[in-house]
């Protein structure tokens, strides 16, 4: 009997040693975007290589943002990896809420990450989140309508040219609108577009002393230009249009131009969903000759919350999901057009990827945005289409509501700017700036 017990215990010990000592199940919170869903489908490759299992929590972007913020602030420990953006990373990094990723292995080749992305996801030289995919904004336009208007889109157009082209392309009787832009209120909706556009017009959110600048002539010019253009050449009800509404309009052939996230390029050129897939051209977001373009910079990145019990396994996952090998895995399984864009220099040097029609314009757009010097005049903040301070999301959503109301014709540009100035000044004062 004693022998049997000893034998059984011995067998158990051997069996325990055979199982990888570090095999873990990690929980990852992520968004419902095409690239993320593709990653979920390929997770078995990670499990085969490391022995770790993955549990996914997929949520809508705004729900995810609230959910992970709540968990990290309360130290809930629900997630081992969180999908966060360029807005949260520097704020959370400064609070020491995230694990540093400076010790990734040499094979990870951190220097290969696009400098704009690395800069936006670091605090004082420490990388706190690894970019999974990056995006900027650019012009997507109908080549046939541009030709019909007798114009040729330059690679780097001015706002003057874009406005002129939009008016000439507009044919309201046939429901064709020269330009579709975001109007729905929200810091990540109309304010992402308008903040980036204001950079091209020489405007800024705050001066060096954190004083709001909505009373400046540059903001008045930005907002007046946008509202006049949308009234003349935009679709009806534009004040409720966000990314999805404009995507729908463009895919149905109702927009001459659409300035939005570079990730939209793969949607509008997909013949299964888009009626104009073979008539789409791309150009950089417009400027006004002041040296800054109106394109934003964003990355969905993977970060590890401080305090997770599974830091080593989480790092292994990030090493897998944001590596060069992962890009090749996606290319092999789903083709180069479906590789997550905008993260690594080597991807854009790959001759196969260079054949993808929107690859070059995506890279040029990303490279022309500088989150550390986003505006013509100096500013005390980081961020192109946002200001990386915790108060920004709340303030910008309120400002976005004022601007959206102005676009809907419920108030004048002057009234919207005056309200924006007052509410921003009050909120910033209350926050101690």
């Amino acid at each position: 009997m004693a022998f049997h017990t000893r034998a059984l215990l011995g067998a158990c010990a051997v069996a325990a040693l055979c199982v990888p000592a570090t095999a873990e199940t990690i929980t990852i919170a992520t968004v419902n975007n095409g690239d993320m869903i593709r990653m979920q489908g390929l997770t078995k490759d990670f499990t085969e290589k490391t022995g770790h299992d993955v549990e996914w929590v997929t949520l809508e972007e705004n729900v995810l943002r609230q959910r992970v913020t709540q968990d990290i602030a309360a130290k809930g420990g629900q997630f081992d990896i969180m999908t966060i953006g360029m807005y949260e990373t520097p704020i959370w990094g400064k609070q020491n809420w995230l694990v540093s990723l400076n010790d990734m292995p040499d094979s990870y080749d951190v220097d290969d990450i696009l400098p704009a992305m690395r800069g936006g996801l670091s605090v004082d030289g420490t990388l706190y989140a690894a970019p999974f995919y990056g995006e900027s904004s650019m012009i997507m336009y109908r080549t046939d309508l541009m030709e019909k208007a007798g114009l040729e889109m330059p690679d780097a157009p001015t706002w003057e040219f874009v406005a002129d082209a939009a008016r000439k392309m507009t044919d309201k009787d046939n429901e064709i609108y020269g330009i579709c832009l975001r109007g729905k209120a929200g810091w990540g909706e109309n304010m992402a577009f308008l903040t980036a556009t204001s950079n091209a017009f020489g405007a800024r959110w705050f001066d060096e002393d954190w004083k709001p600048q909505f009373d400046s002539p540059e903001w008045k010019e930005t907002l007046s230009f946008y509202i006049d253009l949308m009234n003349e050449a935009g679709p009806p009800g534009a004040s409720t249009n966000g990314f999805n509404e404009n995507l729908s309009l463009f895919q149905q052939g109702k927009c001459g131009m659409w300035i939005d996230a570079t990730v939209a390029a793969s949607f509008v050129t997909n013949p299964a969903d888009s009626t104009v897939a073979d008539k789409v051209g791309f150009a950089l977001a417009p400027d006004t000759g002041l040296g800054k373009r109106g394109n934003w910079l964003w990355a969905w990145a993977l970060a590890i919350p401080a305090g997770t019990q599974k830091e080593a396994a989480a790092k292994e996952f990030i090493n897998w999901a944001t590596s060069k090998d992962y890009l090749e895995l996606v290319a092999a399984e789903e083709g180069w057009a479906n590789v997550p864009p905008g993260t690594r220099t080597s991807l854009y040097e790959n001759p196969e990827y260079q054949k993808v029609p929107f690859a070059k314009m995506t890279l040029d757009s990303i490279n022309s945005a500088d989150p550390t010097a986003p505006t013509v005049k100096p500013v005390p903040y980081i961020g192109v289409q946002f200001v990386a301070i915790p108060e920004f999301a709340g303030i910008a959503t309120q400002v976005g509501q004022e601007f959206s109301a102005a676009l809907a014709g419920q108030q004048s540009v002057d009234e919207a700017l005056a309200k924006a100035q007052t509410l921003t000044a009050e909120e910033m004062e209350a926050a101690g700036y």
Binding site: T27, A29, V31, N32, N33, G34, I37, Q40, G41, E55, W56, V57, T58, L59, E60, E61, N62, V63, R67, Q70, A74, K75, G76, G77, Q78, F79, G188, G242, F243, N244, L247, S248, Q251, Q252, A261, V263, A264, F267, A272, D273
Partner: protein
Amino acid sequence: MARAVTPRRKTINTLAAWAIGLLIFFPILWTILTSFKTEAQAISDPPVFLFFDWTLENYAVVQERSDYMRFLWNSVIIAGGSTLLGIVIGVPAAWSMAFVPSKRTKDILMWMLSTKMLPAVGVLYPIYLLFIKLGLLDTRVGLTLVLMLINLPIIIWMLYTYFKEIPGEILEAARMDGATLKEEILYILTPMAVPGIASTLLLNIILAWNEAFWTLNLTAAKAAPLTAFIASYSSPEGLFYAKLSAASTMAIAPILILGWFSQKQLVRGLTFGAVK
């Protein structure tokens, strides 16, 4: 004296009732129809109603991507468990308020209802922190408890209203015959109140099934019910309306079927005390 209803009036009333019924049901019908369209058809303008190429592709994609049965099982346990627990606590509570009221019974009832007037987000952080301390985050036990507490005022109110309709003399007679309190509630009151308890049960299962604030905020991967399953198909960057509709249809189908089969009890429960 009852007023005579002319056939013409009856026809008009019937048509109006059908029109209102269809109007209320239309969003659900549209969701179901959209789930059988392609993504391009789902956003087409003008919208297509019935004449399109029906496809099951969205259901196949959703099935492949998500473990539907796990979400469904969590929903069944959380909604069913919280309701049963609520009934177990609610029956004695409603009995005492209906048959042995004190001076403060009405106040207690109002106070219980007033807890429903506080926006849930107001107590999110205290509950979240409590859940961390108690190790209840992302557990079915934790969610069952929270949903039971949220729905308890409604359960007690519904049972109280129904118990008030039962003549107290019957319970008194049982007491005279020597029934203990437990026997009185279990063998006299409960059998008489079965229809009321059944409709309370059904309504609360529906409320718990559809609850989408706590179920999203207190779960992650393990205890997430069907509300989280739907949320995982919503996207502000990308037109996935057909897949979202397929996920929604799969999530509401069980409770919709349950609702259809138990219409009579539900209507009865909701109109307790409406006619004296």
